[in-house]
Amino acid sequence: MNRRTVLNYFLGSSIGATISAIVYPVIQFLIPPVVSEAAQSNVVAATANELPPGTAKIFKFGSSPGLLLRTPTGDVRAFSAVCTHLNCTVQYRADLEHIWCACHDGHYDINGKNISGPPPRPLEQYEVNVRGDDIIVSKG
C-alpha cells in the first residue's frame, strides 16, 4: 500500500463522510414531523358538537387566547380573549350571559361590546365558519 493509495482512500472516505453529514440531515428533514401542521391563524377551535348553547371555551389563536362562544340562541361567535383593559384573559359567565373579566370586573355583552367596568374597547371579533364537523376561526 503506497502513499498515493492511502491518500486516495483518505480523500475518498473523508469526502464520503462529508456527503453523509450533509445527506443525513436532509433525509431527516424530508420525513414529516410528528406534529404535522404549523400553528395557523385558521384554527379549528372546536368540533361542532363540543359546545352546547350558553357555553364557551378558550382556544389558542396565534399567540394569544381566544374565546369561542355558543350563545343561548345557538349562534357561534369567536373573540379575542384578551381583555382590552389590562390584558387579563376573559371568561364567559353563563349566569350573567356576559363575557366577564375577573381582574377588575369588566363586563362585555355577547357581541363583545364593553358594557360595564374599566374595559375601554370592545373585544376583537373573529370570523367563524362551520365546515362539516369543525368550527374554524380565522381573523376577519
Binding site: 436532509v26 406534529v35 404549523a38 395557523q40
Partner: protein
Amino acid sequence: MSSTPANSLWDWFDKRLGLDAVSHLAREKEVPVHRHTIWYYFGGMTLFLFAIQAVTGILLLLYYRPSAENAFESVQFIMAEVRFGWLIRSVHSWSANVVIGVLFIHLFSVFFLRAYRRPRELTWISGVLLFFTTLAFGFSGYLLPWNTMSFFATKVGTEVAGVVPVIGHFLLRFFRGGDEVTGATLTRFFGFHVAILPAAAMALVGLHLLLVQRHGMSVPLRDEGRSMKTMKFMPNFFLRDLMGWLIALGILAALSALFPWELGEKADPFAPAPAGIRPEWYFMFMFQTLKLMPARLGPIEGEVFAISAFGLAGVLLLVVPFLDRAANRNQPNSFLKFAGCIAVIYILVMTLLGYRG
C-alpha cells in the same frame, strides 16, 4: 482502460451522452498561475454557495406556506418542529448573505483585473445581470418569513421604487401587487423568488459558465501574451476549489448551529413601524445614501436624484467593457481604476455608517 465496473458504467453513458468529450475538455483545461490566481476561486465559490441556496431553498419549499396568514407560522414550524429544519433554514439565510458578499468580491476582482475586456464582454454582461438577479433574490426572499422587520423593510424598499421618475408608480404597484404591502405582495415575491428568478438565474449561469469555458481564464493585462505557468483544472485547481468549498460549508454549519437565524414577530400591518428598520447589509449603502440626501438638489427631489444616480451606476456597470477602450489597446485606465476604488470605498463607508447611525 481496465474493465472495472466503474469503467464499464462510464462506457455505457459515454456511448449515449458523449461523456468523453466533456472529460476531455475538463482534463485539457488549464488555469494560469500568477499573482492574482487567488481571485479565480471566487467565481466557483459563488457558484457553490448558489447551489446551496438552491438545495436548501427547495427543501424549505416542502414546508413553507406563502400566504400572509400562514407564512410566519410555517417558518416557526420549520424552526421548531421539523427535524433539522433549524439547520436548513439557517443555512439558507446565512448563505444568502455570504453568497452576496462573495459575489461582491468576485465582481470587483473581475473589474479591477479588467477581465471584462474583449472577447469577454458578454461574460461580464451576463455576470452583472446575475448580480442584479442575486440582489433581487435577496430582496424577495427577505419578505418571505413575514415578520415585522421584513414587512417594513419591504415597505420602505418598494416605496423607493415608487420614486423612480416616470415609471415609479407603475413599478411600485407591480412589485407590491397593489398599492400597499399585503398578502398579495408576499405571494408575488414568492413567485419571483422560486420561479421567475431561478429561471433567469439558470439561463444566465448557463450562459456565463459556457462563455467562461469557451474563452478560458482571463489573465492580468500585463501578462497577456506572455507564456506563464499553468495548473491543470482537473484535478489540481478543482481540488483547491473543493478545499475552499469545504471550509465555506464548515463556516455555514457553525454559523447556523451557533447563531440560528432569528424568527422575530409576525408582521402586523396596522402596528406602527418599529424603531431601527433597516434593510439587509447589502442594501445598506443605498439606504444610507437616501437617508443622507437633502430634500432637494436644485430642481430635483433628493430621493429621485439618488435613485436615478444608482440606476445610472447600474447601467454604467453593465456597459463597462464598452467604456474601457484602453483595455482593448492593452493600456492602463487609471480613471476607471479610480472610479472603481471610489465605488468600493463609498459602499464600505456607507454600509458602516448605516450600522453606526
